[in-house]
Symmetry: C2
Subunit: 425 residues, 2 copies
């Protein structure tokens, strides 16, 4: 009760923060910006924008049934294998650990990733195009430095991956959001006069709405990028987690003009705390990307890269993905079926079986924030709002229900509680 | 011979690159910038400066006796302990690995570091001021974003840590270099009219010249920063490696006005490939620094941070530093004695016994580049030029002799070869 009360108070004061892939958090109050302590000339305009747009981490809420999203289940990870692979490189005979690695990444991992991405995601790349980064945010940070000048327009999805948007904004980008539908980014609504030099999209499984970009839209988007001399940032954050056997390949794979920058991460399929992601670059962007990376970061830890390289090359990664697809796919099916059976026409969600959560459109008269608050109070049920992912306020009410971190036996009771709340509301 | 020939040819073409802490490298040619492939409007001014100033990694030269600098000896690392500490956190019962950590760093490591820095370096800090970063370059990258506007003046040492300087330059900083002497940064030569908002210094052991900043200069520098409303970036890159028992404490420890930003790294005392460094911030800079770090990087890998935290808290780090000081101190003594006995008055170097290399001032008529080339050709001896660390061309001839990576029995023969080259030259 104390936690919920504190949460409500913080929510009322505007200190509730949300991170995609990590659920809802209460902001860490002592770390909130205090720019008044600094002399007037102390901080750059960049820093001032960062203070305004950065969202602090916080402590997760404790609830009984939690539809938090983006959570992985460490229990499914083959720890014994992982320990064995790490130990291989922890010998006094191998001086690799002692050396600076390449800022582009550990070469065997780049080779393994290129092969994996070709096979599993249809990405068209050589290992030289694959650069290891400390996370998708680092990749976006470097891309923004390379391509964004203050005032530049960037096309984005709404709702969308706000953490990327905030970073682009700090660089002075002016975001132009197009509202997505069940088939993703509505490319046909890009204004002909748009001067955008970059579009940020999630074609495989639109975040957070869900849905896959159609082939027609993909071709249109690529043609636009060629015509506009623009780049497309394809965030394939959970492209490996598709449960219906109809894997949509990456947009990058059908780009024949070097306009697509492809982003992927190990955070969703292995561990966020590994801090490893990757970017596949058009060849023309490799030199400026590496020049920047060399200046700011001499590369990720070699040990982890080496172990993941072996994990992939020796088939463990495929087996692990197969198990995740089974486990998460079963949970998603339970949740989707439950929602359909219990709530039927009252809710709507994308039919594409992918990712780690379902975004549920509520009846138009529902009050999103109030529903979430009542869920916490009445049932200690963790539901998560869609509003923070919209560029504009006033979006139709919706909630995010993560299924990867919830026990199978909790899904039906959670859906029943949601139904009761909607009926009472 | 093939390697040396290739090296000479590359040197002639200007493709020899140097990285402090990693020795001399031949640039990786296929990765050199090719901005001509990009459309005119494609790259931002930031990217264009990065391309001009970034220095590519390359392959180390293979020589018989190598006075490469900044190299650590992995043989001295207690691998068994390290493996044991890592294994502690690799269990299925611990879900820490699966979670995003704090962008500020793993709390127990911050606590251990604060205690260590207080005790060993006299740093005056609470754990909240200690932020874990992926390397000193990341810390400088964030500091530059916070404090530098294009055209801002920054005071720096020359010769100095060019990799930091290049990064500051990419942000548009105008560097004002003051030539160092055996007592470090000549603060009394800061022009009264200087509008600098930042000074970058290496007080404990000036890089690469050697020498410790005197107390008088320290107090002067702190007074200047207060008066000028400026910050001091103190790079304590090898502050723990002092061999004469006279440890100079950190400048940060006598700063009572919150003007010093302290940088330290595990690269020199553990492994570069760990990719872990830390910054101790004045409290006013914590919120903007963390706001920026949250946007660009969700923190370093938890596993490594946890293991290093235990390594420090359980006394292994102290024992390891003790062993490094013995081993490297013995090598430095051998090298310094050899240089004095064999070359006497013909060379000069700082008497302060610290760090991982000695910068040797050559007779004024010596030709630095030619000497290094002849050393490689005649003896396959690895010597390293000082010129790349000077802001201006035409500095007095000098070479860098690393001692941490050279075998004790190779030191006297290497010095004898150097003496012969100087006599013949």
């Amino acid at each position: 009760v104390t936690v919920v009360t504190a949460y409500k108070q913080l929510a009322a004061e505007g200190f509730v923060v949300l991170r995609p892939g990590a659920g809802t958090f209460v902001a860490d109050l002592p770390l909130l910006p205090t720019p008044r302590d600094l002399s007037a000339r102390a901080l750059s305009p960049w820093a001032q924008r960062a203070l305004a747009l950065s969202v602090a981490n916080g402590k997760p809420r404790h609830v009984q049934i939690d539809f938090g999203f983006g959570r992985t289940f460490p229990q499914h990870f083959p720890y014994d294998t992982w320990r064995k692979l790490l130990a291989r490189y922890l010998s006094t005979d191998d001086v690799m650990l002692a050396r600076y690695g390449s800022p582009a990444g550990f070469q065997p991992l780049r080779v393994a990733l290129a092969a994996h991405l070709r096979r599993v995601r249809g990405v068209n790349c050589a290992p030289e195009q694959v650069i290891i980064v400390s996370g998708v945010q680092q990749a976006i940070d470097i891309i923004a430095r390379l391509l964004i000048r203050p005032g530049d327009e960037v096309l984005v999805e709404t709702p969308g991956y706000m953490e990327a948007y905030n970073l682009l904004r700090v660089y002075g980008a002016v975001l132009h959001g197009l509202p997505v539908d069940d088939e993703g980014f509505p490319v046909e609504r890009i204004p002909p006069e748009s001067a955008a030099r970059l579009a940020f999209v999630t074609p495989a499984n639109q975040f957070p709405h869900g849905g896959t970009l159609t082939l027609e839209r993909r071709l249109w988007l690529l043609a636009w990028a060629r015509r506009a001399d623009a780049y497309i940032l394809e965030d394939d954050y959970d492209g490996e987690l598709r449960y219906d056997g109809h894997s949509a390949t990456a947009l990058q794979g059908i780009d024949d003009a070097g306009r697509v920058i492809y982003l992927g991460t190990f955070s969703k399929v292995l561990f966020p705390a590994l801090r490893l992601a990757y970017v596949v670059l058009p060849t023309t962007l490799i030199p400026p990307f590496l020049a920047t990376k060399r200046l700011i970061d001499r590369g990720s830890p070699t040990l982890t890269q080496a172990a993941i390289g072996d994990f992939m090359a020796e088939g463990y990664f495929d087996r692990h993905l197969h198990q995740l697809r089974e486990t998460y796919g079963r949970r998603r099916a339970l949740l989707a079926t439950g929602l359909q059976q219990v709530l039927g026409e009252r809710v709507h969600f994308s039919a594409v079986a992918a990712g780690l959560h379902i975004m549920v459109q509520l009846p138009t008269n529902a009050d999103e924030a109030q529903l979430i608050q009542r869920a916490a109070e009445q049932f200690s049920l963790g539901l998560y709002p869609a509003a923070p992912y919209h560029l504009q306020p006033g979006a139709p009410p919706a909630i995010l229900l993560g299924f990867s971190g919830v026990r199978e036996e909790d899904i039906a009771p959670g859906v029943a509680q949601l139904a009761q709340l909607l009926t009472e509301g």
